[in-house]
């Protein structure tokens, strides 16, 4: 059967952002199509439209000649579209076979579940893909990789003609990735349409046939994998103007004494991490999603317990049992998930910026509203936050302005912040504002702050940081200075040592 999936003139906008602009392309059955682009380029929005999570403002998706219209994710599945997300959709307490056949368990003539047949059918699928999985084992007992395999088999069992993968290798070890690729090859042989979203260029060359490159919500170009090269793709993904952004930054060049020294930090998903930070320095943490970067700063900040290790702040040994203690000592964290962890969304700008200084803006027992307003007004002016007033609820601000509210909170005159930790500060922010955020970071460094910068986007880590620590599997695998850093060197460090750090292959 000759399938094809076609996107015709898809447009989608969110308040303040044009997420997709007139996207049209075609994916053929029996081929693997890669969606490539930086974070925020529009890949995941497109994937959500394909999965029925979002609906497009304009345009249509056509599968095998018939237009698809979804009102829920279930409609998409019924129409033959399965999306394998990073978060698993399995029921941990139920067996592998029940998960694979969930919603369509075979029944015998009494109306009961036909367990022998269920087992036989599951066995057949498992053998087809050549996996060593026990159909009766609870899905929750399997390793992350095998849980993903179970999801793929579930999609296969449904007879889906389109199977889309969202960063499927993000949490897999090398050996597991090769099993995944075998599965994808099998799907391809069956004539399925495979859509593959990934950042990792090496993988894309390994398994895809076609590549569609996105940038800022628009489709840049379509490539045939065999006829293109890595540099060509990177050029298409990044464009030239981004390089200039970094070149034009006005940086700090004078570093002061050592502010922070972390020695042999061990915490959940963090194995023996050491680094140091000087006054006026920006250190970057690069690595793939799940490498343990966020966990390092959370443990440092007292948000998660530290198992062992030493933290020296200006030469003195400290240990923070709660974020409140870390803040008093001069640390500040702008978390990765702004909306869930950074801001109290339904409160005003004023309420959000004053949280850490509530004890300081008091008269006797009462909050000093005048001082609070002055504080918030000062921050709005300093960072030119676009808002009608300080009483605006932060949920109504754009992503960039929300980020400024958080930065403003930590850098106000009332605070004694010395070290700013920024976890993916440019996530979900449009390109223009990104450049503004980079310059803001450099300005903060000039003022003498020590900045820790976590990002999954290699160009910005390399472009902004003075020193780059690369993490992989909870460990620091390398430390590179900006002058010596290239995307290739960082990427190889981020993916190196797989054989040494991961114990054996998947059982």
């Amino acid at each position: 059967m000759e399938y094809f999936l076609e996107f015709k003139g898809i447009r989608k906008s969110f308040p303040g952002v044009q997420a997709l602009r007139d996207i049209s392309f075609r994916a053929e059955g029996g081929r693997v199509l890669a969606l490539l682009g930086e974070n925020g380029a529009g890949k995941s929005t497109l994937l959500k439209i394909l999965a029925g999570d979002l609906s497009a403002d304009e345009g249509e998706v056509v599968l095998g000649g018939a237009p698809l219209s979804f009102s829920s994710p279930y409609d998409a599945i019924k129409a033959g579209v399965s999306v394998i997300y990073q978060e698993r959709q399995l029921i941990p307490a139920m067996s592998v076979m029940e998960n694979i056949f969930a919603g369509a368990l075979p029944r015998n003539s009494f109306g009961f579940i036909d367990k022998p047949r269920l087992k036989k059918d599951t066995q057949a699928i498992i053998e087809k893909f050549g996996l060593p999985i026990d159909p009766a084992a609870p899905a929750g007992r399997l390793s992350v990789a095998y849980q993903q395999m179970v999801e793929i088999m579930k999609a296969y069992r449904r007879g889906s003609s389109v199977i889309a993968f969202d960063e499927p290798t993000a949490s897999l070890a090398e050996a597991e990735i090769s099993i995944l690729f075998k599965l994808i090859a099998e799907l391809k042989r069956e004539g399925k349409i495979v859509v593959y979203v990934s950042h990792r260029l090496a993988e894309i060359f390994q398994i895809t046939d076609d590549i569609v490159v996105f940038k800022d919500g628009a489709l840049v170009k379509t490539f045939v994998t065999d006829e293109t090269s890595e540099p060509e793709l990177i050029r298409a993904m990044i464009g030239r103007d981004i390089g200039d952004t970094y070149a034009n930054l006005s940086r700090n060049t004078e570093y002061g004494e050592t502010l922070l020294e972390v020695r042999n930090l061990v915490a959940k998903q963090v194995k023996n991490v050491s680094f140091s930070l000087r006054k006026g320095e920006i250190i970057g943490f690069a690595g793939l999603v799940g490498a343990g970067r966020t966990e390092v700063v959370r443990a440092l900040f007292g948000a998660d317990p530290m198992i062992s290790g030493e933290i020296l702040l200006e030469g003195k040994r400290v240990e923070f049992k709660s974020p409140a203690e870390a803040i008093t000592a001069g640390l500040a964290l702008c978390p990765e998930d702004r909306k869930e962890q950074g801001l109290v969304l339904y409160h005003s700008i004023r309420d959000n910026v004053s949280i850490p200084v509530l004890s300081k803006i008091r008269r006797f027992f009462f909050l000093d509203r005048k001082a609070e307003s002055a504080l918030a007004g000062g921050i709005v002016d300093k960072y030119s936050i676009k808002t009608p007033g300080i009483d605006k609820i932060v949920v109504e601000l754009s992503g960039g302005n929300q980020q400024k509210v958080i930065l403003g909170r930590w850098t106000s005159d009332q605070m004694t912040t010395k070290i700013l930790i920024l976890d993916e500060p440019t996530k979900g922010i449009d390109v223009g504002t990104k450049a503004e955020v980079y310059q803001m970071m450099c300005d903060l460094a000039k003022q003498g702050f020590g900045v820790i910068f976590i990002s999954s986007e290699l160009p910005e880590v390399i472009g902004v940081s003075d020193t780059i620590y690369v993490m992989r599997g909870g460990r620091v695998t390398g430390c590179v200075h900006r002058g010596d850093a290239t995307e290739e060197s960082i990427l190889s460090l981020a993916m190196s040592d797989t054989v040494k750090t991961e114990r054996g292959d998947a059982k």
């Binding site: 900040f301 409140a324 950074g342 969304l345 949280i355 850490p356 509530l358 008091r362």
Partner: protein, 296 residues
């Protein structure tokens, strides 16, 4: 209100009745403060009735045993605080959902109430208690009402104008973000649970003082009234919204409603049914307004 006045041929608005309405507000308002401030922070306590009844019973027991009134009062308040602390431990340290944790506590406190009282009511003869319970300023405004209005005022000011109060709202909206910004949600949670326990103890004691005896039912049924009043007053079960002003309005609505039923001779049994229905109505209103917020 007008309906009640008409049906009761004016009895509803006679001073004596208004005084009754005000007097019966006391217990509910103390419970509303405790339950309401917990709800603003996103928690919930179903054991307040049980804790208050248990503490009132302890106070009555101690008084009968000859303990001076201030010591009995202090012991009861401490027990109330301990009950609240127990809830806070279950919720914060063991990660129980608040409703199930406090439900278990409610059951435990009921047991203790029965143990202390041996299932019987204990009369209170202490003059100080009786004075607080039944004396009135200018022969009209009961002291107990003054206590409760004063409490509403103080807690209203605390919630709106202090760091602690602000923290309660911020935590109710987003505990995670509040923690990362330097607040201590756990500490606030402990404070709120203990505070609610103490207020419940006070409510239980005031009722017992008014009735001049402590029985095993105590303020158990007022607990829902407290929650209902809070929700009627705009404190959402989802946390983060509402305040003491609204709560006061909720309490008045609730009490006029209940008292009105008494005045027009609805049997007391029906009032129990009605208060359940009122809770459901309040919830529906809460649900509708939440949906409206979401739609905006």
């Amino acid at each position: 209100m007008i309906v009640y006045t008409v049906i009761s041929k004016g009895a509803f608005i006679r001073p004596r009745n208004i005084r009754n309405i005000l007097q019966s507000t006391t217990v509910v308002s103390l419970l509303t403060i405790g339950a309401g401030s917990l709800m603003i922070a996103g928690y919930l306590d179903l054991s307040l009735g049980g804790i208050g009844t248990m503490c009132a019973m302890l106070a009555a027991f101690l008084l009968r045993a000859g303990v001076p009134w201030y010591a009995a009062l202090a012991a009861a308040l401490i027990l109330g605080g301990a009950g609240g602390a127990f809830n806070a431990v279950l919720v914060n340290e063991l990660n129980f959902q608040p409703f199930i944790a406090t439900l278990a506590t409610a059951s435990i406190t009921q047991g203790f109430t029965s143990i202390i009282s041996q299932g019987k009511q204990i009369d209170i003869a202490n003059p100080v208690f009786n004075f607080i319970g039944s004396e009135r300023v200018l022969d009209f405004i009961p002291y107990s009402l003054i206590i409760s209005l004063f409490a509403l005022l103080i807690y209203g000011v605390i919630l709106k104008n202090t760091k602690f109060g602000r923290s309660v709202y911020l935590i109710g909206n987003n505990a995670q973000a509040a923690r990362l910004a330097g607040l201590r949600p756990k500490r606030i949670s402990y404070t709120l649970f203990i505070n609610a326990g103490c207020l419940a103890a006070l409510a239980g004691i005031l009722l017992a003082a008014r009735l001049k005896s402590s029985n095993t039912v105590g303020i158990t049924n007022s607990q829902f009234a407290g929650m209902t009043a809070a929700i009627l007053g705009g404190i959402s079960l989802g946390g983060g919204t509402g305040g003491m002003g609204g709560a006061l309005a909720g309490i008045l609505i609730l009490n006029c409603f209940n008292n009105g039923m008494t005045v027009i001779d609805v049997p007391p049994y029906w009032q129990v049914v009605a208060s359940g229905i009122l809770l459901l109505i309040a919830l529906t209103a809460d649900f509708l307004s939440a949906r409206k917020r979401a739609a905006n």
